[in-house]
């Protein structure tokens, strides 16, 4: 299968990351990290991981700046 052009790839990764972040923060999955007894910093760790996703998308978008 042909590799999509850089712009398309960045957009695809962007939507994928957005979906993952929605799943973590906006779906019922949040019941897991917000359950009683979880460490207070757990939401921040997840946030950090999502920020790393954003960094990954930004790297993919490099070289396709309009």
């Amino acid at each position: 299968m042909a590799t999509p052009p850089p712009g398309e790839r960045a957009r695809d990764l962007s939507l994928l990351s957005f979906g993952v972040a929605l799943l973590v923060f906006a779906s019922p999955l949040r019941l897991i990290w917000a359950a009683d007894g979880r460490p207070w910093y757990l939401p921040f760790v997840l946030w950090l991981l999502v920020s790393l996703l954003a960094f990954w998308v930004a790297r993919a978008a490099r070289g396709h700046e309009t």
């Binding site: 712009g7 960045a10 957009r11 962007s14 939507l15 990351s17 957005f18 972040a21 929605l22 923060f25 906006a26 949040r30 019941l31 917000a34 359950a35 009683d36 979880r38 207070w40 910093y41 939401p43 921040f44 946030w47 950090l48 999502v50 920020s51 790393l52 996703l53 954003a54 960094f55 998308v57 930004a58 978008a61 490099r62 396709h64 700046e65 309009t66």
Partner: protein, 989 residues
Amino acid sequence: MRLELSLLFAAGVAYLVVLFLVAYATERGLIPARLARHPAVSTLALGVYASSWSFNGSVGFAKVEGYRFLAIYLGVTLACLLTPVLWQRVLGLTREYQLTSLADLFVFRYRGPLVGTLVTLFMLAGSVPYLALEIRAITESVSVIAYGTRPAAIALGFCAMVTLFAILFGARHPAQRDRHQGLVVAIAFESIVKLVALLSVGAFAVFGVFDGFGDMNRWIAEHPEALQALQRPVRDAPWGTLLLLSFSAAFLLPRQFHVAFAESPGPRALRASSWGFPAYLLLLNLPIVPILLAGTALKPDANPEYYVLGITLAGTSNALSGLAFVGGLSAASGTVILTTLALASMSLNHLLLPLRPPTQERAVGTHTRQRDLYAWLLWARRALIVAIILAGFGCFLLLDKRLGLAELGLVSFAAVAQFLPGLAGVLFWARATRGGFIAGLCAGIVLWTVLLALPVLAPGSFGNTASALRELLRLDDDPWSLSTLLSLSVNGLLFVGVSVLWPASSATTERDSAIPGAGGIVAAGSPTEFRTRLESVLGADAAEAEVQRALSDLTMPLDERRPAELLLLRERIERNLSGLMGPVLARMIVDDSLRMDQSARTALADQLRILEQRLREARVPLHGAALELEAFRGYFRQILEDLPQGVCALGPDTDIVIWNRALARLTGVQAGDAVGRELAALPAPWGELLGTFAVADTPTSQERRIRTDKGERVLQLYRSRLEGSAKPGGPLASHLAGGQVILLEDLTESKLLEAQVAHQDRLASIGRFAAGVAHEIGNPLTGIACVAQNLPFDMDHAVIEERAEQIVEQTRRIDRIVRSLVSFAHAGTFALTDDEPNASAPFAVKDAVEEAIDLVRLSRQARGVESVNLCDAQLCVDGDRNKLIQVFVNLLSNAFDASAEGTRVEVTATTENGSARVHVVDRGAGIPERLKARIFEPFFTTKVAGEGTGLGLSLVYSIVREHGGEVLVESAEGVGTTITVVLPKAAAA
């Protein structure tokens, strides 16, 4: 331990002075531009999102809503993940069309002043309470940590300082299109200050209030209800609406739009912000939980919204309290300054200017003076800044003091969220209409006002009625989520419904999708005329400056007169004016001053050129089929550009549409200078060459010799008309009808090579003739010698005369031989010069054949073979006599070589269908059937090495084809061979 008010005042003033210095140093270039424009700076500037609500209110919000407070920042993070899909597209539009605010963006898409006015008024309504929130946060911060405060005075002082800063560093230029680098750096500096302040208070909470993380965790273990209070709201209540609100606020809040797009240095910075901004917000929110826990443990005498300040009072150092206060001050001042600037820009473009456009002249006493447009705009913007901050101050005075920061913040967030459907239409939905946008937004505004704004901002009779309505609709269980969802849903449904049910008129669609330039050309014929026409609206100085600016942007000369370029200039002026006074007024001015001549039609070349330029410049990426088509267009264009032959496509009016690289190399005329011009306007000799070939009723293929700066060149021209090649009725059919494409092939090199080969062949022939030449010259020389030896003994005068006559006769014979040899040797040298005696002209075939026979007879092989020239003396052909003699020499040489001693070679000529057919007939061995197909191949020979070059018949074929003739071969082994040369007969023959 509380602080003295004077100390806080000093700290606040000192901080604002530092802020002034940072902005001033940047504007004066004391901070290197490389640093000031670094992506980290614009990322930090985006941190203006974190207002007082974030700095102070987050702890209070977390106290009530637990981890739901994170939704205000996680929504931003989600929005940042969509940077390539959302932010970059908006940036592309704002940069390309000089759009400086959300209102500009909507007006650009949905057209009409009503759109801009509506957006601006609603933005003001949604944002002024936010300004009040920031002012209140400052006054309440002071009251938390200082004695003897006077809120109104503090608020007024704060407003005065931020107004001064906004005017000095945010309204330095008349146009919002010019970036305010000092302002951006100052806002970035503020983001650092509030981050440092909050992290310091967080560190104090962990290490000052608790004894490190271990102690804090022990406290949490002992008080599990504190952590459960954070986690439970996330599990028990939906927070999708909060995520949606902060998602839209990330780039739709006026201050966010201003920093992200209006002040953005470019896509690179935005790409860095896509991860840097969420990372910044993460760092900023890390201390919130420890501060909340510390506050819960300490129970300071403060509202939880001000625990950030309250817990610092438990320490022994005033410095931390001062730092926390400065952090809050930086959050509030940054928010107020940027929100005000953005609103001022919108209000100027969409409220003030449409109501009261600046006139060119103003009355001064009894006479009028020309108004300075730029100064007028600058002062109008400054006045609006003052007015908006005063409105915020007034709102602060009227606000119910019991309202929480979060409630006020959410009112603004819910307001800007109403723009989401419209933005989706801008970016993703081409069928969205102005009517749909206005209908949806109006519904959103009404519902926002009734269900969200009035119950919070007007708790009186209006507010009570609104609250009752909310209760009636059973929205009170979760008023923010349900009211926001209801307003957004109705807004979106009306937007889509109206757009679908009442689509844009065909005229509007046609106007928007028309090929640029198809609507006519600019009536003004030069940039100077542009300036003259704009003077009546903008004034002389501004008109001059705007035309110069547009010319400079397009690197266009002042004497430009090409219609397509002037169309681009008009478009650029409109864009630049849009950055100065908004798209509505810019369009009005340009439409009025630089009218289009609808009766004139832009040439196809110009339309294509503008279209291609727009595609190249387009910062909004194409998608789907459009992207594929654009890729194919680029592919085919590249093929044309990279063809080794010159390609010139002409429009119906013989203006040049395509001029590829090979043609630019060949002619020395660059595409930029050729495209859009008529053929006749090309420099010599190309204008005449192509012009005559394109319009004259000439053959579709022609070989032409021309003299250029680089010497003489031989070109083969081909032409094809484009009629009927486009689909009838298709969008391009009318444009292509009458067009044509001309192909130019440079034959100079191959012609030189051919001439060189022919010359070599002639030299080889002369070598073969050498022995014969010696013999033919030797015989008369011997005769001359004999006659001369006897001459002294002949006394009779008559005999002497006879002997002298014999000598002269023999001399003539020698001269004839030498002349024919020299003529043959020099015929058609391999340099292409005008001196070359090879021009086409009619000549008698019989004479040429005779001359060839004389030459061939010199060769050894010709001895013993009889040759007969039976051609009609009257038969003439058109062509290069010397080259055709070489043809006959080669054919006769072969015939003599093939003939046995005592046989005969005959040359006859006939005419048939306007052609002369010259037959060279021998009675030789004939050509074997298997070799017939190869005899015209270069270097093919059946002779032994040294006897032949293998180029003779190849040259015969080449020369005859060059004359438009052909060579036919009939041969039978053991019977002989007849080679027939068919040549066009001379017209007079």
